[in-house]
Structures are given as structure tokens and as C-alpha cells.
């Protein structure tokens, strides 16, 4: 057994810095690279791409990365685990195989983890008694059944471990939890049992620290953002995992960024619910058991983690079409910028009424004044400029388009010294809403397919 393994975070979300994973591989030793590509809305976009072309439905940026990085991964024997497969992990795997063949990487194994996509099984699942109620609101699935655009179960580390046991160098999954990507190599390397709750929980904590990329290593760091060196080439976090479940959070020395107790704490609380009850498919982790200790420059030891048995459910992420939004904006300059923006708001609202447009919500914010902090913001006497933002939400697309045509005319018909209309008419966007639900684990089985490049 290895004394410890290094699991490097390569990406916090689809659209994160492209060269971060390349730096993780080139700037120092790592054993695993984990990359998160998926969010609720991403699955819906990918499902749409797949419906147009059955060979699509995964993160194409990942293929662009593999063109650059795959030979080095193989040469350095770094294993890569990513959920870039989206709603079509097998197609993504085949695209990576094509690259591997072209680059002459014979013998390399690539795996796809799938079976999470239940979009075409919803009716059957409901018919056999799975309610798929919205776990936040309690509403029945019937309410949105004819508008569903994607539906995926969140798998945990198990199928990823299976792929590792089949010798896969690159593992491409569908909707596997972000934390599971980091936990899986620990189970595989250290032979942890599926009921060693404390160790599994430690792996989940490592996964939570890795899952948002540089957010654990100096990015978006409130307590000391001015202290963070070389943010233009920030080092993403690396979790050094030990067989007993101890972790050391660090980063490559040659890169920028900062790892200290404060950066790790900020990431630990990110998107956290009840800290004693961090539910994943493999274990329920207790975040109130986590102990941190700075043990060197850019090195934080994480230990003492406790876990409890998993629940009998998988979480399901269902996305559905829910009407449209449109947000328009104009910039008003000093003097009386805020008054002008407020007048513009009044005019648009009267126009909406005059034109008989129906919306579920009309929302105004003044950017530069109170858009972020709302009623908690402090008063500014005489701002130099204010961006007037007005958004509407509703089901009627025609009304949306009429609204979109109402913003720019204000330049010549409304309050003076106005600019910022260069983008023209604001875009009408489809709303893809999100429906979280639970599903009994026995209803779905993860599938693993490993192929060897010849």
C-alpha cells in the first residue's frame, strides 16, 4: 500500500480556468486528478445537445483538454476522474479513445460510469410507486411531469472504485457527486471497507475541499484576499490522503495561491447545510468533527472526522422548463443618477401596464447602489453612476419579447445622461428550474464500462 496519495483538483465547475489541470500535472507529483463539470442546469443543456445529436451530451471542453493532457497523464501515470460525461459518458469515453488511438497510447484503459440518467424511466418509476416529490416543497412530480428536461441520480464513489479496479486510467462519469470523485481513489488505494464510516467521511471532506477548485487555495478568499500571491496562476488544491483517513491540504509550491486554516474553513462552510448531517450516497459525514491544524507553509492537516451510515435513498436532480425571464439594463450618470434610474423603473412599469403584459414577477435593482446587498446596503448620497436593472419572469414568450423591446427606447424617451445600451435588446431566456427528489437505491444500478485502447 502507498504511504499516501495525492489527489489534485483540476476544475471547480464547467468554465473554470482551462490550464489549471495542466499545471496540476506539470508542476509537481500527483497521483490523481479530479475534475467537476456538472451543475443542475448543465445536465439540461447537455440533454438538449444529445437530443439533437446522439453522440453529444458531454463537456466538449474536456475533449479539448484531453488533446493537450492525455499523453502526459499516461506518461506520468496520473489517473483522471471526472464527471465530464454529463448525460452521455459513453460517447465522451469514445471521443477520448479516438484521441488516445491517434496519439498511439496503446493499452490505456478508459472507463465510463453511467446508469444515472433516468429521464426515460420517470413514468415507470412513478408507476411502481416512487413519488419523486420535490424534497424542498413536498409537491408531487405530476406538476412538472410533461416539462422535464433532464433527470439524474447522484451516484457516489462505488462505480468509480469499480472502474479503478478494472485498471482505468481515465474515468468519465455521468452524475457522480463531486465528493465521490475524490473519495474513490482513497477507497481503491487503501482498501477501505464500505462500513468504515469515519474513513469514508474523511474522503468526503477531502472531496468537499477539492470540489470547487481554487476556492480552497486562495480564490474567492474573504479573510485575506490581498495576501494571496500570483492569483493569475493560482495553484488549485491537492489533498494528500493517508490510509487512516488523515488529510493534508496543500498545493504545488511553484504556483500561486494560499492554503491555510482560513482558506480551508471558508471552503468547508461553502454550500453547507446541517454540518452534522452531510449526506452523500456512501456515508453521512459530520462536519462538526473536523479538526484543522496548520503544519507548514501551505499545508493544513485535516483529521478527527466522523461518519455515519448512508441513507437508503439516492438524491435525484430533475430539471424542467418553467417559462422565461428577460433582464434589461441601462446606465445613468451623475448628477441624480439614482433618481433617474428610479424614474426609468417607474416608466417601464407603467409601460408594462399600458401594453397589458402579464408577468409572474417584476424585479428592479440598482447596480452600484444596492443590487448585491439590498436592504442591508448603506446609503450613498450621490453615486457617480447607477445601472438600472429590471427583470421579468413569466410563461408568455410574446409578452417577454415585447418587454425586451421596451428598454432601449428609454434612451431617447426617458431620463437624460443614459448609456450602456450597446448590447441592444436584452435576450429572452428559457428558465430551466430544478426539482430535487429522493429515490430508493434499489431502483437504479450504476454501470461501468472499461475499454482498452488498441
Amino acid at each position: 500500500m502507498k504511504e499516501f496519495i495525492r489527489i489534485a483538483s483540476g476544475q471547480g465547475y464547467w468554465g473554470d480556468r482551462f490550464d489549471a489541470p495542466i499545471d496540476q500535472v506539470r508542476e509537481g507529483p500527483i497521483d490523481y486528478l479530479v475534475m467537476d463539470y456538472l451543475a443542475e442546469v448543465t445536465m439540461s443543456i447537455m440533454q438538449k445537445q444529445k437530443s439533437r445529436d446522439p453522440n453529444l451530451g458531454y463537456a466538449k471542453d474536456f475533449i479539448r483538454l484531453m488533446e493537450v493532457l492525455l499523453p502526459e497523464l499516461v506518461e506520468k501515470n496520473v489517473k483522471l476522474i471526472t464527471n465530464a460525461g454529463g448525460v452521455n459518458p459513453v460517447a465522451c469515453m469514445l471521443a477520448v479513445r479516438e484521441i488516445a488511438e491517434r496519439k498511439g497510447l496503446e493499452g490505456v484503459r478508459i472507463a465510463a460510469v453511467y446508469g444515472d440518467d433516468i429521464l426515460n424511466h420517470i413514468d415507470g418509476l412513478v408507476a411502481s410507486g416512487n413519488e419523486l416529490r420535490n424534497m424542498e416543497t413536498g409537491e408531487p412530480i405530476e406538476k412538472i411531469r410533461d416539462r422535464i428536461s433532464s433527470a439524474n441520480v447522484y451516484f457516489g464513489a462505488r462505480p468509480v472504485v469499480e472502474a479503478l479496479e478494472q485498471g482505468a486510467q481515465v474515468i468519465i462519469t455521468g452524475r457522480v457527486t463531486d465528493t465521490g470523485l475524490t473519495l474513490a481513489p482513497m477507497i481503491h488505494e487503501f482498501g477501505w471497507q464500505w462500513d468504515e464510516w469515519d474513513k469514508l467521511a474523511a474522503g468526503i471532506v477531502g472531496g468537499h475541499i477539492n470540489e470547487c477548485g481554487a476556492q480552497a487555495s486562495g480564490g474567492n478568499f474573504l479573510a485575506g484576499w490581498k495576501e494571496v500571491p500570483n492569483m493569475e496562476r493560482i495553484g488549485f488544491p491537492i489533498v494528500e490522503a493517508f490510509p487512516d483517513g488523515t488529510l493534508i491540504i496543500t498545493k504545488h509550491e511553484s504556483l500561486g495561491g494560499l492554503v491555510d486554516e482560513r482558506t480551508v474553513k471558508e471552503q468547508l462552510v461553502y454550500e453547507l447545510g446541517d454540518p452534522r448531517d452531510y449526506i452523500t450516497p456512501d456515508v453521512v459525514a459530520d462536519f462538526t468533527s473536523i479538526q484543522l491544524r496548520q503544519i507548514g507553509e501551505n499545508r493544513v492537516k485535516v483529521f478527527g472526522i466522523k461518519g455515519q451510515p448512508f441513507t437508503e435513498f439516492y438524491k435525484v436532480s430533475i430539471s424542467y422548463f418553467d417559462g422565461y425571464t428577460c433582464i434589461g439594463q441601462l446606465t445613468y450618470a451623475w448628477p441624480e443618477a439614482l433618481e433617474k434610474a428610479k424614474k426609468a423603473d417607474e416608466i417601464i412599469r407603467k409601460r408594462i401596464e399600458y401594453l397589458g403584459l402579464n408577468f409572474e414577477e417584476i424585479h428592479t435593482e440598482f447596480l452600484g447602489y444596492n443590487a448585491c446587498h439590498g436592504t442591508t446596503a448603506h446609503q450613498i448620497a450621490d453615486p457617480n453612476e447607477v445601472v438600472f436593472l429590471i427583470g421579468v419572469r413569466g410563461q408568455n414568450k410574446k409578452h417577454m419579447e415585447t418587454f425586451a423591446n421596451e428598454i432601449v427606447p428609454l434612451v431617447l424617451t426617458g431620463p437624460p445622461t443614459v448609456t450602456g445600451f450597446g448590447g441592444g435588446r436584452p435576450r429572452v431566456r428559457e428558465v430551466i428550474a430544478y426539482w430535487p427528489a429522493l429515490l430508493k437505491k434499489e431502483e437504479v444500478t450504476p454501470k461501468v464500462l472499461t475499454i482498452e485502447v488498441v
Binding site: 443542475e40 442546469v41 424542498e136 476556492q215 474567492n220 474573504l222 479573510a223 482560513r262 474553513k265 471558508e266 471552503q267 468547508l268 462552510v269 461553502y270 454550500e271 453547507l272 447545510g273 446541517d274 454540518p275 452534522r276 462536519f287 462538526t288 468533527s289 473536523i290 479538526q291 484543522l292 478527527g304 418553467d322 425571464t325 433582464i327 414577477e361 424585479h363 435593482e365 447596480l367 443590487a371 448585491c372 446587498h373 439590498g374 436592504t375 442591508t376 446596503a377 448603506h378 436593472l389 427583470g391 421579468v392 419572469r393 428558465v431 430551466i432 428550474a433 430544478y434 430535487p436
Partner: protein, 112 residues
């Protein structure tokens, strides 16, 4: 004396559907007890006023000197539905750190 919470704590916020989470972390270990006493769920709810339409829940994390708050119905329907500029509640962290709390006079004595 009254000071803004930002003198005692740092924070990070994010979204879970229409719920925003704000983790408030003591800048020094000895500040945690003050945070625990002063930054109650009720006062956080009052601080945000109409911005948070649902209840506020608080969870204690003495192990890292932090309090985690869940602000329900605070994001205009959530990430993809909302009309808010800050769709994911990313800046709710410092909005909360604007809150004024009572601290012992000697806590910052002799400093600025």
C-alpha cells in the same frame, strides 16, 4: 461597544436551491463565543429583513469556530429562476458581516 461583524469574522456564502447559506467564521478563536451569543438566527433574520422571506436556521461548528446559517426563500426562486443580479447569493456573506453586534469595550482597545 458596537462593531460590525466584519471586525470579528470572515464568511462565505452560496446557494442550495432558493436557500442561501452563509458560513460565518471567527477571525480569532476567542471571538467564537461572542459570535455564538450575538449572532442569533433571530437577529440574522431581522438584519436581512425583506430579503429573506423564509425562516433562518443556525448551526454551530465550534470545531472551526464557525456558525452556519441557512436563509430560506432568499434567492428569488433559486439560481436559474431568479431575477436577482446575485443569483446564487454569493455576496450574502458580506451583507451579513455588515451586521452590528455588541462586544466588550476592551476587545479592540488600543487598536485603530
Amino acid at each position: 461597544m458596537k462593531v460590525k461583524l466584519i471586525k470579528l469574522a470572515h464568511a462565505r456564502s452560496g446557494d442550495k436551491g432558493d436557500t442561501a447559506n452563509v458560513g460565518v467564521i471567527a477571525l480569532k478563536a476567542e471571538f467564537y463565543e461572542i459570535l455564538k451569543k450575538e449572532v442569533t438566527a433571530e437577529r440574522v433574520k431581522a438584519h436581512f429583513g425583506e430579503m429573506v422571506k423564509g425562516p433562518v436556521e443556525r448551526f454551530e461548528m465550534p470545531n472551526i469556530g464557525a456558525l452556519n446559517f441557512l436563509l430560506h426563500n432568499a434567492l428569488g426562486g433559486g439560481g436559474t429562476t431568479t431575477l436577482k443580479h446575485d443569483a446564487q447569493g454569493k455576496t450574502m456573506s458580506t451583507a451579513l458581516l455588515r451586521m452590528e453586534i455588541e462586544v466588550p469595550d476592551e476587545l479592540f482597545a488600543g487598536k485603530d
